[in-house]
Symmetry: none
Subunit: 192 residues, 4 copies
């Protein structure tokens, strides 16, 4: 594999590819997405795809990352319960949007058989958000809103796990009701 020179890269092609990928994923399923289809629908040579991305998952990941960039924040009003409530409701909104859900589920599915995707997904989307959450929880713990012996990463998993559980296992739709109930129990568990 030659290493292409990013300076000469065509921004037009990049835009067309990312847009086409998202668009196709919306009309079809993630499984129905193909490199060939993206190229055709973006008016781009297949070589251009393979030059800059190793797989359709990588393309989609970049497209999503771009769109999700502006959601990288965690509220901090000083009231932990309120902030978690806000943030979990935002997550429900994201995850409920059929478009975004398609990408999410497609990518997580792809990550099961491709460690590269898995790592990229973690790095680009998951870990930054988890970190923000942990930062907020740490602050709360210092403020005495959380018992000092509580393991914060576990709290993150208790808050987010149930949402992904429903999302990926399809046991039930993800709802605001769910996160409210969950949040109440978790708060009960971690409060002094």
């Amino acid at each position: 594999m030659v290493t292409p020179n990013p300076d000469r890269r065509s921004e037009r092609a990049r835009r067309a590819i990312l847009d086409a990928a998202l668009e196709l994923c919306r009309t079809d399923t993630y499984a129905g997405l193909t490199m060939e289809g993206i190229a055709k629908s973006a008016g781009v040579g297949k070589q251009t795809l393979y030059r800059w991305w190793p797989s359709k998952a990588a393309i989609l990941l970049e497209a999503i990352e771009e769109r999700a960039a502006n959601t990288l924040e965690f509220p901090d009003t000083g009231d932990l319960a309120a902030d978690l409530h806000t943030q979990l409701h935002a997550l429900v909104r994201t995850v409920t949007d059929p478009l975004f859900a398609a990408y999410t589920k497609g990518l997580i599915a792809a990550a099961q058989s491709d460690p590269t995707i898995s790592e990229a997904l973690l790095k680009a989307l998951i870990r930054p958000r988890v970190q923000l959450c942990i930062d907020r929880l740490t602050k709360a713990q210092h403020a005495g809103e959380i018992r000092p012996e509580v393991d914060l990463p576990t709290v993150v998993e208790l808050l987010y796990g149930p949402v992904y559980y429903r999302l990926l296992l399809h046991t039930a739709p993800v709802t605001t009701t769910q996160v409210n109930t969950t949040l109440n129990l978790v708060l009960t568990a971690i409060r002094p």
Copy 2:
């Protein structure tokens, strides 16, 4: 779709197919599994596969279901904490077994783009086990070990969600330590 006559079904072929599917999935990845490969390695015509199963996921599901049949139980010693502990550790063991993990992750991935698989997975594997868990929790709630206003399905999600969260998002390996910590927090949340 013709509707084949199950009475004339060859048990020999069925066995060979299920075994070959599991075996191939063990040596290769779920994504590398193909109908063609299963047929070849089972010494079976492709038509025989398509006659009885709509997809490789369906084959794998049946194979797993069969193997998992004997794990359909939930301990009941009268001590809720101990029983949950036992059951969660069993889950960790299952999910940590590389073979079983491959199937699980492959199937859950497939379920993301195929509602048929999703439903079959729920029906065959998930729901029966969730129900057993809820039954045990109900008994505990009646026995006063859980506050009466606690929503039990939410408790199930709090217990299992974090495990699937790690498993599918690959944030961290699933461990007994994790479930212990999780369980302690959950018990704190639900105890009177």
Copy 3:
């Protein structure tokens, strides 16, 4: 291969098979004819086909043989030219009938890659008719209507060859005009 007992053969099945074969060949092409299709449409098990015939060509051959049985005659009015004219026009009629043409062409095509069919075709249909023609020509030669040194099998080929030439090479439709012109030239060639 067991040798089935013809005494116990079901005449009903035989009839249904031959009729179905002809019928299918009429609605579809010879190439589109299948053992599976014949069995299904005759309401008969595939085994019954294979028990009594080695191939679809053999079935068709028997069906045609049956229908052609009553055309096994050669006119003999004492006037050779008139008799050949009559017979060639009959051939044109047969060969022009779309149904019969389909069989003929299908079988001749099949004969190209299956010596069994070729031999059966010769024995059942071609040779008997050629013989009748030669008999008639012999009589004419004795009567002095054909020069004594003329080779009669060659005459048969001169009369029939052009018809099959058009039929199988599709250079032009087989017509009565054609056979008239041909006949005139052949008569010129063989007359004293």
Copy 4:
């Protein structure tokens, strides 16, 4: 059907395919020839076959056309009888060659159930040669070697028909003896 760009066509692949087709047809029968087999033995993807040819018959036709290109001539010594004799003997030689016979018979067989093949066969092989023959006969007719009222296309059929008759109906092997006898009779019929 997409319309591929002939400019980008790989001559290497084309050659390998035509050669493989001829070779396979030589070792096996026409009926045993498969697109899959040709692809495999030519070291070529099946798509490449289907991109440029609609069927195995079309491939074979092109291969034969190529090889037969140099035989497109008709002798003209001024002596019609001698020239026809020369040409018919050449035909016998061609048709007796087991390799060429296989193609010929296979293609003619295929033409019976595929009008596309039929037309291509006519256009590429039959009609050009028939025309040359008619040209030669026309010259002879002008030279007074053939009676003016004789229909020349009929003469062609009288000369070639018997050869194809034997070839396709397998009544007898095609021989030089046959064409000599035939030719004598035809000459008798058409001479002034």
